[in-house]
Symmetry: C2
Subunit: 219 residues, 2 copies
């Protein structure tokens, strides 16, 4: 099947799936590439091209069966199995994620949470007991943790990621504002609110400059 699928394609697939789930809940039966495109901020051609990398799922002249396509996309994204995640660091972000009940809600199993601070060990956060770091390796292998969420301070992030990967994690979601190095073959994504906010500042500022230039041109 598909040789190399780009990150942006995968992100769009997730968005299509998000939309399909909503439509499926509302029991809408059929959707066109156009319909999906409008609800996800892209173009109809893009939707069709993205899907075409994995097969052909639609009926010419009609569109896509909502439920079918939903199932297909879940299959493609690998969401038909259960995934165990562990949260490393239960400071502000880590405990927010756990308290939220976020993972369970979205179909991920929270297998464990860890923190270096003895004061936090033993706490119950959203039904998960915080464990000491010393138990990391054993717990990862016992519970088959494959996704590690790094929510530690910057200083600890790289070490935690390295340990998680050694202990069997195949993917890392990093909330610490540093670049982490992981062996090739380990998947890695970063989330950083500051980065997004700064991006917005740039856009607003740059839009202002463009407006200035237009004003100049008119003079």
């Amino acid at each position: 099947m598909a040789r190399k699928i780009s990150d942006s394609t995968v992100r769009r697939l997730s968005r299509y799936l998000r939309r399909l789930r909503a439509l499926d809940r509302r029991e809408q039966k059929v959707v066109s590439s156009r319909g999906l495109a409008e609800a996800t901020g892209t173009t109809a051609a893009q939707v069709r091209k993205d899907l075409s990398h994995f097969g052909s799922f639609g009926k010419r002249g009609q569109g896509y069966d909502v439920h079918d396509l939903r199932v297909q996309l879940e299959e493609i994204l690998g969401l038909t199995r259960r995934w165990s995640v562990a949260v490393l660091g239960v400071g502000k972000i880590g405990s927010a994620l756990l308290g939220y009940g976020f993972f369970t809600e979205r179909g991920f199993d929270v297998a464990a949470a860890f923190d270096a601070d003895p004061a936090k060990v033993g706490l119950d956060l959203g039904g998960v007991r915080v464990q000491p770091l010393s138990e990391l390796e054993q717990t990862f292998s016992d519970r088959g943790v494959s996704i590690a969420i790094i929510a530690t301070p910057v200083e600890a992030a790289q070490e935690m990621a390295t340990r998680a990967v050694r202990a069997g994690a195949r993917a890392v979601l990093n909330f610490a504002p540093v670049k982490l190095n992981v062996p090739s073959g380990v998947a890695m994504r970063e989330m950083d609110v500051t980065l997004e906010l700064e991006g917005l500042c740039y856009m607003v500022t740059a839009a202002g400059h463009v407006a200035d230039r237009l004003a100049d041109d008119i003079e």
Copy 2:
């Protein structure tokens, strides 16, 4: 100056800045494009190309002055002015952001927080008093809010975004898992943990398939 700068370039600029701030704190004086590239996960050529869109900031044969470049990037990204943000919806995510003291720490002013739930109005979250939605328009204009953070449930997100923009917001950071429509000229970014997690699942799953194929080839 620069005509159209791509989103990915802007994201990288933010990363360079993040790194430069760390180096500046440690009083490192000079950094090469290579040095920046390694710490931010890109290539030296990419760093130089990105910067070249805005001018030439380095000294040939030496590299870049850390502090200088930091200031230049802050200027480019529009971070030399103060930005007022408002948080719309103080459920799990909204209150986590406020409680974190996140924005103030990173140089953004939290001007206000709003919620539709009367039970939440009046609460003090991280030093910000939660206001009723009826005060949104007045507060946005009084306090010059230019960035709206949408942290409401999906159902309310579009309406809140529309109101925020009408009330003067020039940028929207959306935590609700829906595509929001805003007038052109308004900057918009989305953050969704689920999207990132699903991306990781795909990568791990697809890596498995690749391994299968390789194994097949060997047979």
